[in-house]
């Protein structure tokens, strides 16, 4: 057991060191161009991280992998388009309404589709989430049509120059939201009674219900939080990645990869996984023929699943004490 622990720590540091070496090498070898790749990678990585966090919240409370997570993000973007771009609402109001509406939708989906399955196996629920994703996508196509839409940036499009590299102001909003989201989610699960109870409910529903957190409440709250994080992410990234009814699938896939890389069920892990994935993708696109970018991302995912299935910051699953 102690040996295992030491190996895990070594692996974690190894991975971090490897990424650091790649980043430093890129900066030295490519200068401001390399910095550009890394800044772009951090932006894309933050997007992955936000989606990954949604996966983690539901996984750590219910052990369900919610394949409709990307759809919450898509809904966030489309809602912003409807409320702010079309409806002319001020940004802050549009943002709050978007998060509120999608959170209610998330809670509604949980009650309608997930709650009735409370006695079913986790696999059944996961399959239902795939159905839910298809349903939400079809609904979005029916409401908003198939063309991608543009949502205006929160604070203009004038790029900020930075040691010869540039970044759009919207990226800073994405970084900010990622930071706030990870702090809030981490604090919720580690500092509040409800959050701790929810994590306990995932491992031992009966014992958790004794201290007042039922599996049913846990699932409802987790879905609401995941929908809220997803919607906030969608609202903030919409000016960067053109919201479209079918954007959820790819976001979900990359977010899931990031969550697995960082360790399913860990909010900081989701951020580490997302940022690593984003930066490595961009650096790969920079050095190698750009077509290999996605291949590298999924290669990393496969390696993680083979070597360390619980991810970089995850705890080994199913440890019987």
């Amino acid at each position: 057991m102690r040996m295992g622990d030491r190996n895990q720590v070594r692996l974690l540091w190894g991975a971090a060191a490897l990424v650091a070496v790649v980043v430093v090498f890129t900066l030295i070898y490519k200068g401001s161009t390399g910095l550009q790749w890394i800044l772009s990678g951090l932006t894309v990585g933050s997007i992955y991280a936000l989606v990954a966090m949604g996966f983690s919240v539901i996984y750590s409370s219910t052990r369900v992998i919610n394949f409709a997570q990307g759809e919450f993000t898509m809904l966030g973007g489309m809602m912003m388009f409807t409320l702010c771009t079309r409806g002319g609402l001020p940004l802050w109001l549009g943002f709050l309404l978007t998060v509120g509406i999608v959170t209610l939708l998330g809670a509604g989906f949980e009650r309608a589709a997930i709650h009735p399955l409370k006695d079913q196996s986790v696999i059944t629920v996961i399959i239902v989430t795939i159905g839910l994703a298809i349903f939400i996508r079809a609904l979005a196509k029916w409401i908003w049509g198939t063309d991608p839409v543009k949502v205006a940036s929160f604070t203009g499009d004038k790029p900020l120059r930075f040691f010869g590299a540039s970044i759009v102001p919207q990226s800073l909003w994405v970084f900010g939201l990622t930071l706030i989201a990870v702090v809030l989610v981490f604090a919720f699960f580690n500092r509040t009674l409800l959050g701790k109870g929810m994590r306990a409910a995932a491992d031992n529903p009966d014992a958790a219900s004794l201290v007042g957190v039922s599996a049913s409440t846990s699932s409802l709250v987790a879905w609401s939080i995941a929908a809220a994080v997803g919607a906030a992410a969608g609202a903030v990234i919409a000016p960067i990645n053109f919201a479209a009814y079918d954007a959820g699938a790819m976001l979900g896939l990359k977010g899931f990869s990031a969550a697995v890389l960082g360790g399913l069920g860990s909010a900081p892990g989701a951020v580490v996984g997302g940022l690593m994935l984003g930066v490595l993708e961009m650096i790969t696109a920079g050095f190698a023929p750009s077509g290999y970018k996605d291949a590298v991302a999924f290669l990393i995912l496969i390696l993680v699943l083979l070597i360390r299935p619980q991810g970089l910051l995850g705890k080994p699953a199913d440890v019987k004490v």
């Binding site: 991608p148 540039s166 053109f242 696109a285 750009s290 970018k293």
Partner: protein, 386 residues
């Protein structure tokens, strides 16, 4: 007595065999011409299929009860959901169950390529609305296309580089899907003929939102123009990222960005972008008074009356493909082989997308002069002048 009976049986057999062999023609005798269509009415290619469907429905309304030469025409429109596998199923159904005499479709290159082996075997003429080079290169006997093929668009763009811009070095940035790689391969194949060298060849994923890594690489080469091959939203991300990076390299796009969506998505970054498209999107560049201009005018008036909307490229594809088949049936009847021969022999057929001339070796129909180089200025399309 018995001789009579033998004669009767023989006559019945001959009649039965004739019926079996005739296929669609027998359907015509039974009272109607059956024309199939495989469109992408849902899925990512849905905007294409829906425009095409509107045109086919318009033609159906125009034919009305009189149909073709007094025989009603029935259009059986199936949705492939933008999925080549479903297109194959749809083609099988049209051929074996519905026994159509010709097929309009498909909307996408992927679906068209998927149904080609089946229609070749069943010997049913297909008029595709797909621009992929492989649809018409090498020409397959039963498959025609009304869309300006990628090869044609590439030819037009390379002519622009050589004759109008007088440049020799370009960079390519393309979508990694079939459309993007097909276009890039075609550019690399044709470029030497126009003394153009491809100094960089980069790609991006269809769902990618950040192209800065590829663009910084391209920026470090000595390329004089950047050719971007993809459909929305990829090229809009490219334009926006170029603005972010402050890159001044001229942006030339494929006909995948010949739509208002690109301008909406890219915003001010769209200004200065040049792309090749059917002259249809700038009707003033179609020679006035020509038979082509007349086709365009009558179609766009009818379309506007029926749907209260302007025609688009895909509506034009749908109109040209369905009319080509209906006109062929009008002159040679419902026999599939005769329809194929008729379409293959068309010379200077004035459609909406341009003037079509087919032959045994050319199933693409259009020539480079059907296309025009368009520039986006202040969010508006104007003819690109060097």
């Amino acid at each position: 007595m018995s001789r009579n009976r033998i004669m009767l049986i023989a006559a019945a057999l001959v009649f039965a065999v004739a019926l079996l062999a005739a296929g669609c023609d027998s359907a015509a005798k039974a009272g109607k011409f059956k024309i199939g269509a495989i469109l992408s009415l849902s899925g990512p290619a849905a905007p294409l299929g829906q425009s095409e469907q509107r045109s086919i429905n318009l033609l159906k309304t125009q034919l009305g009860k009189t149909g073709i030469n007094g025989t009603p025409a029935e259009f059986i429109i199936l949705d492939d959901e933008s999925d080549p596998a479903k297109a194959t199923t749809a083609a099988n159904r049209l051929i074996t169950q519905e026994k159509v005499c010709a097929i309009i479709g498909c909307s996408s290159t992927g679906s068209t390529l998927a149904i080609m082996p089946g229609v070749q075997k069943a010997m049913i003429p297909v008029v595709a609305m797909a621009a992929g080079t492989n649809v018409t290169q090498p020409p397959q006997m039963w498959v025609f296309s009304v869309a300006p093929g990628d090869a044609l668009v590439v030819q037009r763009i390379l002519m622009y580089f050589k004759n109008e811009m007088k440049i020799q070095r370009i960079a390519i940035l393309h979508d990694s899907n079939a459309y993007g790689t097909g276009g890039a391969d075609e550019v690399k194949a044709q470029a030497p003929r126009y003394n153009v060298t491809v100094v960089a060849d980069e790609s991006y994923g269809s769902a990618d939102t950040d192209m800065t890594a590829q663009l910084t690489k391209i920026g470090s080469t000595n390329a004089q123009e950047l050719l971007v091959w993809g459909t929305n939203p990829g090229p809009a991300s490219v334009a926006r990222d170029m603005q972010q990076l402050g890159m001044k390299l001229p942006f030339v796009g494929s006909s995948g960005i010949a739509n208002q969506t690109f301008i909406q998505l890219a915003g001010s970054a769209a200004n200065g972008v040049v792309f090749a498209a059917s002259r249809l999107i700038l009707p003033s560049t179609i020679p006035a008074g020509s038979r082509w201009a007349k086709s365009v005018n009558s179609f766009s008036a009818a379309y506007k009356t029926a749907y209260k909307m302007d025609i688009d490229t895909f509506a034009a594809y749908g109109w040209d493909a369905s009319n080509m088949i209906v006109n062929a049936i009008k002159s040679v009847g419902g026999d599939s082989a005769k329809i194929q021969a008729k379409i293959q022999s068309l010379v200077d057929y004035p459609g909406v997308d341009g003037v079509f001339t087919y032959s045994e070796t050319n199933h693409a129909g259009l020539k480079a002069d059907a296309l025009v180089m368009v520039k986006i200025e202040n969010g508006q399309w104007v003819e690109a002048m060097p």
